[in-house]
Symmetry: C2
Subunit: 560 residues, 2 copies
């Protein structure tokens, strides 16, 4: 029981203004948090109780599906990260200089710790699947806090890691884990706004790489949802087709090559020559990690999504080609390299947004010159195939169903990603299959952003003046408003009668605040059941209970 | 419930050899821990459950005495540490380079975080005392792991901080906190071997600076206990007097100055001239932080305890004087500077171990020369006062009671230290006293080494072949040994009848191990109640319960 008379509990009359959002203001007002520095808060007892309840929900659901809980260290030796080549490649990982000229990682993830640990338990296919998890602090050396709650340098995560004999065995496990995640979100009353979005990953099948996104105005991601098929994508991997048919002219006009000194930007160009934006193209030159030279072009009003383009080319990274490289390959200055007039041997990718263009504009691979009224077939060959590597936009359609996407903002609260054999191979983890043959197990990882979930839930249940906590994670279940001190014996008895865990009870026995203040505090911190024991009702042997969610007010007979 | 068939639970037949101690071997054997690197372990489910139970005991006891729980960040900005001048003075604190040329502290302690936080709640004397705590990871950049479990780079601590109006008010609070600590140790069944030892601290009174030490062979500290007065000291601050009266000769012999080229070490000297060790002195020259030159001398068989000496001189630090300084002050080479023949103006401190010396040996402040048969009064002045700055040894006595100390090894598991106004002043924390005058509150801090307590408890309850867990922190309360799979319904019902939290039940439903293995696993991980359901007893409607601590074996009737 938390006796308020003994605590420095001090709510504020109004929500303080902060650079953060509304729910943060209310959390400050209601004594849940206190600021340490920008984006860094200390949790008071109330906030900590919400956190522990969310942790417990996650723990119970994970345990139900045979994941076993562990606790790994936050510091780890540089050597294990060098083994997988990730010491320098995880750019958000803190490197901590230590005594004796050592360096530790302040772990932002734990594959390098869990893999050699589980190795011991994986001897035979009978030992698989196996899944271990922990609920622990993670650290990330972020350049900036990207949005108020999503990119902190220190946060609590549930991270799980599983090993599997093959994809079939994994697929069943995946369904279990999806169930675990949805059970957690159901208990937090947020399941109806959770979307399972396909995310970017290199995987045997796109089906098993997912982000769990909550639709919310505190956002980091943009989600594209097909309202019929319910297919759901993170913007960065959304396949899309343009909304309206292209404007194809009836008649092909004569091509003109025009000298246009100093007009470099398409905006200026379209203005100068009255070319419609949909009648122009945007072309970029890239080099791959294997130094292959690539030219890619989309309709002018789209952007190139390099992640999608990478998957088409099947390369690990793309960088803009250098000025020299462009000149060498196209014999034009960098601003004038465009799809028309390209040398034959160049690899050219054209997005399907440009498929039906007629009489369109393009630079012409000749410095200062561009062309209008260019046409496929007549002026440049029709490509064997048009691709989809444009960045999806509002009103775009799902190419599979031709449905217009619903587009909304969202925050990631969980994910499931394949790690394939990257870590099993690095640490030589093998098992014997049914035929006694040595095989490398497949690995998956599963994250739930526990502390982010706490902030997201606050924002999700934000009312005008308070945060209406779901029953399961409200910091306390009962708030006893005590008006008479002489009541003490009776309400202590009452709290026993309610048969609730005493950890779930706040007793407002403050003598220096009035009844009205106690009621408004109870409402502000939003305890779902407020029990009022007033002199009048007490005489008659009644107590009053105010249930927040059902909005019921009841007078209940004491039974002593 | 933990179903063993679903977990990678694998005990080992014998305890593996490790560089660590016996209990670690058993923890490895019994699937509690797995090693990540030297002195760094991952906790499996079993060990984590012990940890969480200890945390909960600490939490409940702290809450009972109105301390409120918080959670502070692990990273903090350099600026708050610069405010108190501790950025560079805490030598074990990790400094973490971060993006944008920032540096964070990876907190080894939290005074700099909690003080500005609690500031808000301290307006008037009515708001005091106030105490906040957290249970959290601490990080320390230790040069070496001093002993297997005591000096880790990463560990879990309960750290509490309180503010007080004055010493009187604090003294009552101190008694409460001592009670909290002893309640925790009582619940862990270790209270009878906990000693409250006076520790080193700069404080208004030595009474309120204590370490809670557990008598144990896994040790870091040596404790001196007065068996009658029960006064208890950490060796580093033990006041002491020599055990036997000094050998005072009847007759003063004639002093001799002897040239003793190349004899520098007292050992060689005592051998060469047949001087008894108790007839010789050991002298050292120091400079204080204010560059004062100090000469200190003890009887040869004692060492100088610089902490004790510092308190006598009342200086913050002592360093050995340089060769040049010694020569300048004593006009002798460094090896020959000794108490005899010193210039008059030198500050000389003589320990009381040398008080009754007659005909003793000393160097003579003349290179190559020393003297034997030196005597106070005749050869050098009797000092106005003899001090106590010797390092305590076995057989030494308490100077107050003249009782011979009991001496034993111990590990610190908790502490209470005064911080006076160091942090309140640095952060300008003030309050209004009863006369409406602004005052600076006094601050105390309170540590419980939570994760160390866990390892210490394992060692403390170490039997020959297992660790016999106290009921309250055993990882689980019941271990169901299932022999028939057909029993499932019945034992599930049984676990309900026991009315225990299902989190406290292990079900050994493994089908690939025999009964004997299940029993020996149950015994090895030491679950206090083993419940065996065998076909025979089941038929008769009985189950068998084996209680570890009481060593009772009972057959109990099922009641379905």
């Amino acid at each position: 029981m938390l006796y308020l008379s003994k605590f420095p509990f001090k709510t504020q009359k109004t929500a303080p203004k902060t650079s953060d959002n509304k729910s943060t203001s209310i959390l400050l007002q209601a004594w849940f948090i206190r600021q340490v520095m920008a984006w860094v808060y200390t949790y008071t007892t109330l906030w900590l109780k919400v956190l522990k309840k969310i942790e417990q929900i996650v723990r119970e659901e994970m345990n139900n599906y045979w994941a076993f809980e562990t606790l790994m260290p936050s510091l780890s030796p540089r050597e294990v990260w060098e083994k997988t080549g990730r010491w320098n490649s995880i750019d958000v990982m803190f490197h901590v200089p230590a005594a004796n000229n050592k360096e530790y990682a302040l772990n932002s993830t734990h594959e390098e710790i869990i893999t050699p640990l589980l190795w011991e338990f994986i001897k035979s296919y009978k030992d698989l699947p196996i899944c271990a998890y922990q609920i622990q602090n993670k650290f990330r050396n972020e350049k900036r806090a990207k949005s108020w709650l999503l990119r902190w340098r220190e946060f609590i995560m549930k991270d799980a890691y599983s090993f599997h004999a093959d994809n079939e065995e994994f697929m069943q496990y995946y369904e279990w884990m999806k169930q675990v995640y949805m059970n957690v979100f159901t208990k937090l009353w947020i399941a109806k706004d959770i979307y399972i979005a396909q995310a970017d990953w290199w995987t045997f099948t796109e089906k098993y790489s997912h982000e769990f996104q909550i639709k919310l105005d505190i956002w980091e991601d943009v989600i594209f949802l097909d309202p019929k098929s319910k297919e759901c994508f993170n913007k960065e991997v959304t396949p899309c087709t343009i909304p309206s048919p292209n404007i194809s002219d009836d008649k092909l006009l004569e091509r003109q090559d025009i000298e246009a000194i100093w007009i470099i930007w398409v905006e200026a160009l379209t203005k100068a020559f009255w070319v419609a934006a949909e009648k122009s193209t945007k072309t970029m030159m890239f080099e791959t990690d294997e130094n292959k030279f690539i030219v890619a072009s989309v309709r002018w009003d789209y952007d190139i999504n390099t992640l999608k383009l990478q998957k088409i080319i099947w390369c690990k990274s793309l960088r803009l080609a250098s000025i020299d490289k462009v000149k060498e390959m196209t014999s034009a200055e960098i601003g004038y390299a465009w799809i028309y007039n390209l040398p034959d041997n160049i690899e050219l990718y054209i997005d399907d947004s440009a498929m039906w263009l007629t009489n369109f504009e393009t630079w012409t691979n000749k410095t200062w010159y561009h062309s209008i009224n260019v046409n496929f077939w007549r002026d440049l060959p029709i490509p064997e195939r048009f691709y989809d590597f444009k960045e999806a936009k509002v009103w775009d359609k799902n190419p599979k169903t031709w449905e217009v996407y619903e587009v909304f903002k969202a925050s990631e609260v969980g994910n499931i990603f394949p790690l394939e054999t990257k870590f099993s191979s690095a640490f030589n983890v093998t098992f014997l299959d049914e035929n006694n043959k040595s095989k490398t197990p497949l690995m998956w990882c599963y994250g739930i952003w526990v502390s982010r979930l706490m902030w997201v839930t606050a924002e999700y249940f934000l009312d005008e003046v308070w945060i209406a906590w779901p029953e399961q994670i409200a910091p306390f279940k009962y708030y006893f408003v005590i008006i008479w001190e002489e009541n003490i014996d009776k309400w202590l008895k009452l709290s026993n009668i309610l048969n609730t865990n005493s950890d779930d009870v706040i007793i407002d026995d403050r003598t220096n605040v009035w009844f009205g203040q106690k009621m408004s505090d109870a409402e502000l911190i939003w305890i779902p059941n407020i029990i009022i024991i007033s002199p009048k009702t007490l005489e008659k042997g009644w107590y009053e209970i105010k249930k927040r969610w059902s909005k019921e007010n009841e007078l209940v007979q004491f039974n002593f």
